[in-house]
């Protein structure tokens, strides 16, 4: 039986976490066992308490590490416990469990090491605002410049990793806004990335890790990170 860890980074997600975990537990894919792994990033609300009563693994961080550090905790768990694959699923309900099979099919039928669920390949489902799309487009061009691959939905956290990718992120993974710069890290380490179209929902609760006033900082930080990741992995 192939084992998939569904890693759910959660920071103050008490409203949506139960439905996210239950949707994952209800998921049936042939030949695949899905085990939800919630990483509680030191939430101030009752997230940890709620999750501990659910039928899933809880990784309870004692201090807040941010999205990258939290996701990496889940990746480390999946790698240590010998999971074949790990998928990141947001705790706010943005990534529907039923879409996982699309990523899994691509993972098993191609030579991809990382499969990214993309909102933009077909323009269906929740699409994000104009300014944000402009930023994502800019990042797409920057990533293509430094890695030679074109990833349309480079800020999507809905990604599946195989064991060779897990081995890489087990050692190092960016802390803040990890999605775009990790693409460079994967490509520079010889891993293959595929994108598949998925339908995403609008978040059920919580706020985006990228808030309105932080967008300029986000762009500058991610641009720098992409350039330095490129140099580091040359």
């Amino acid at each position: 039986m192939t084992k998939l860890a569904a890693i759910i980074p959660a920071y103050n997600e008490e409203e949506s976490i139960t439905s996210v975990v239950e949707a994952l537990l209800a998921l049936r894919i042939d030949g695949l066992t899905v085990i939800p792994v919630v990483v509680n990033d030191s939430s101030k609300d009752r997230t940890a308490e709620i999750v501990s009563k659910l039928n899933c693994i809880l990784l309870d961080l004692p201090v807040n590490l941010g999205i990258g550090g939290a996701v990496q905790t889940g990746f480390r768990y999946a790698f240590d416990k010998g999971f074949d694959y790990a998928i990141q699923v947001d705790g706010d309900g943005q990534h529907p469990a039923k879409e996982i099979v699309k990523l899994y099919d691509t993972m098993t039928s191609t030579d991809a090491n990382i499969v990214i669920g993309s909102r933009f390949l077909t323009k269906e489902g929740f699409q994000s605002s104009g300014l944000r799309r402009f930023g994502i487009n800019y990042l797409k061009n920057l990533i293509r410049l430094f890695s030679g691959v074109s990833i349309l939905d480079n800020t999507s956290g809905f990604r599946m990793l195989d064991r060779s990718a897990l081995a890489l992120v087990n050692d190092s993974y960016p802390d803040e806004y990890p999605e775009p710069e990790s693409i460079i890290m994967y490509v520079k380490n010889g891993l293959k990335i595929k994108e598949v179209p998925v339908l995403m929902e609008e978040r059920q609760g919580g706020v985006s890790s990228i808030r309105y006033f932080d967008q300029l900082y986000y762009m500058v930080k991610v641009s720098l990170a992409i350039i330095y990741t490129y140099i580091r992995n040359k």
Binding site: L59, P62, L65, D80
Partner: protein, 123 residues
Amino acid sequence: MEQYYSYRIQIISIIVSLGFLFYVSRLIVKGKLREEYAIFWVVSTILLIIFSFWRQGLDIIAEMVGVYLAPNLVFASAIFAILIYLLHLSIVVSQLHDKNKTMAQDLALIKAELKELSDKKSE
């Protein structure tokens, strides 16, 4: 009159520098400041004391490196030293950040492992 003023500032700077050296030493003795970070403070305080006593020294060095006004040399080198030290502190903070992250993750993983073991035991 001029002589009087220049002595006054010399005395003030000697007192302040010595007081600072005393305070830094006390912090080290009490274990509140680690020696590797204290070196910077001790060395810069000693420099301050040297130049408080040896006032012509500043003019001599300024002339040597080609700075027209001696106080400018003081400001330039002090700002440079502060910048370097701030960079050093940023490096220290980054290292602490990484170590803290690894420890927090290890702790979360160990807690999960412990729970798994105790669940198995109670079965």
